[in-house]
């Protein structure tokens, strides 16, 4: 007990450097995003009219700064259909992709949990390895396969399933394949972690008491795996909403996800204030899933 108390203080000291780092490079930058989102667009370098610094001129300066704040960018986000549609599309795509991954990932995670104990770590490594492999390369690998004279069309034509090459690239199908492919490990691992905890004795007890396999699965296995389902769903859903690379490379350019819209505003239109406002709204949309995810993560790592 004595030692624990002794150790508590150095642990606080250990927190100082990472705490300051994250406050400076993670938290503080959001203040700048909010600030720029409230300023006016300008053709300049950097391309916005700065809001007067509060330090200049005390209370009067502060009031002047407040008066300069403009909600124009947010008005634009609401009034222009492009943005609203982008947000809706992002949420829809993320929801559909997450649902597909849950359907595919659950049987895989279940199979992993049923493997003999010495094979389970091997299966886990096999699922993790693609996560370590470059994200961009994995998407690029799919461009190879899905292009007009790519391997998929060749295979389908050889099997006489289709007569002419199918257009896969620049479609939603390609985008969903890419998203599922990239994020599947994030779904499988939390599912596996919770399914591996399932005590087989519970299933045997259910069977002894006359429960059918399907019913036992529904009444025993599913409830036990729910924390894993929650973690997997959030781990996939949140980043997919803001995804840029996959829709940009695999989906068509007629309908954009919000990450693409933000990218376009920033890099192509050089409209930093609108890009910032887009980011602020995106963060607001994701706030509740983010908070739920935080609770889950803290509980899982036992820090709360």
């Amino acid at each position: 007990m004595m030692a624990r108390r002794l150790f508590a203080r150095p642990a606080r000291i250990a927190a100082i450097a990472p705490y300051l780092w994250m406050a400076l490079f993670f938290l503080l930058p959001f203040a700048f995003v909010v600030k720029i989102s409230l300023s006016q667009t300008a053709i300049a370098q950097p391309p916005y009219v700065p809001v007067i610094a509060i330090a200049e001129g005390g209370w009067a300066g502060f009031k002047a700064a407040l008066a300069q704040l403009s909600l124009d960018n947010f008005r634009l986000l609401i009034s222009d259909n492009i943005y609203v549609l982008s947000y809706l599309r992002s949420l829809t795509v993320a929801a559909i992709a997450t649902a597909i991954m849950l359907l595919i990932g659950y049987p895989i995670a279940y199979g992993m949990a049923r493997l003999p104990a010495r094979w389970q770590p091997v299966a886990m490594v096999l699922v993790i390895v693609p996560f370590w492999t470059s994200f961009l390369i994995r998407i690029y690998a799919w461009i190879n396969i899905l292009q007009h004279d790519g391997l998929l069309n060749k295979t389908l034509m050889a099997l006489r399933i289709v007569r002419e090459p199918v257009t896969w690239l620049s479609t939603d199908t390609a985008m969903y394949i890419g998203i599922v492919y990239s994020y599947l490990p994030f779904m499988i691992l939390p599912l596996y972690a919770s399914l591996a905890k399932l005590d087989i004795g519970l299933l045997e007890a259910a069977a002894d008491l006359g429960c059918s396999r399907l019913k036992a699965f529904w009444l025993v296995t599913v409830p036990i795996s729910l924390p894993g389902v929650g973690a997997g769903v959030l781990l996939c859903f949140i980043p997919i909403v803001g995804e840029f690379v996959i829709p940009d490379l695999l989906a068509g350019s007629d309908r954009l996800m919000i990450g693409q819209t933000l990218w376009l505003e920033f890099f192509t239109n050089k409209d930093w204030p609108v890009a910032s406002a887009t980011a602020v709204v995106l963060l607001a949309v994701l706030l509740i899933p983010l908070l739920v995810y935080q609770r889950l993560q803290q509980r899982q790592l036992g820090t709360d």
Partner: protein
Amino acid sequence: MATRSIGQLSPFNVVALTLGLAFLYLPIAILVIYSFNASRLVNVWGGWSTRWYAELMNDQAMLAAAGMSFRVAAVSATAATILGTLAALALSRGERFRGRTLFSGMLYAPLVMPEVITGLSLLLLFVAVQTERGFWTVTIAHTTLTMCFVAVVVQSRLGSIDRSLEEAAMDLGCPPAKAFLYVTLPIILPAVIAGWLLAFTLSLDDLVIASFTTGPGSSTLPIRIYSEVRLGVKPQINAICTLIVAAIAVVIVSASLIAKMSSIRGESAAPL
């Protein structure tokens, strides 16, 4: 009727596993095979050849980008490992301290935060303080992102070790810092190394955050690859991608060897 005993591997389980793993690995395998294709047409097989690797060696822009990426990854992974390990230590060994919830929140949020938000916000910070953008801004950005992954990996290891060892050391009069260096650190070293390797590969892989935070003229490898990929599939890109996959494979194999040598006790609870 031959009933399978409950909890055994069913044919359905085997099929799910096989299809799942095939789905994860086939695309990369195809990419690697086609990087050795002699034909200029990406989808026509023209026999085995290493000509695209030879051409890659003459692509100065690509080589420069690769150099930049490796330097950023090495520096940011090292900084992230130090900061991440300290953060993990504070979270799993510290009693409640002021702002602790905020601290853990800041550490977990970047794991799922859309990269466009992280990238944009860091860029606006760098512009506001008028930093010249390039190597250091990308390195700082990557350190911020990857130290959170290191913290999670190390923290789950810290949670699974026997605390009585370090307590015994301190009860015997060992100062906490020394107890950490001689008792705790050797035990968690595999997780710390795994954290560094993960941070390194994540940095090497990042496109979005690097695009926001880098300056003109200093491209990283993913930025370079991305601009080529947008123009279509090229055999040279297959070759560079294969090289990256090979480099990462070496990293993973060495990581698992390190883990095996230090024989991790208990389940490795690292979520990644």
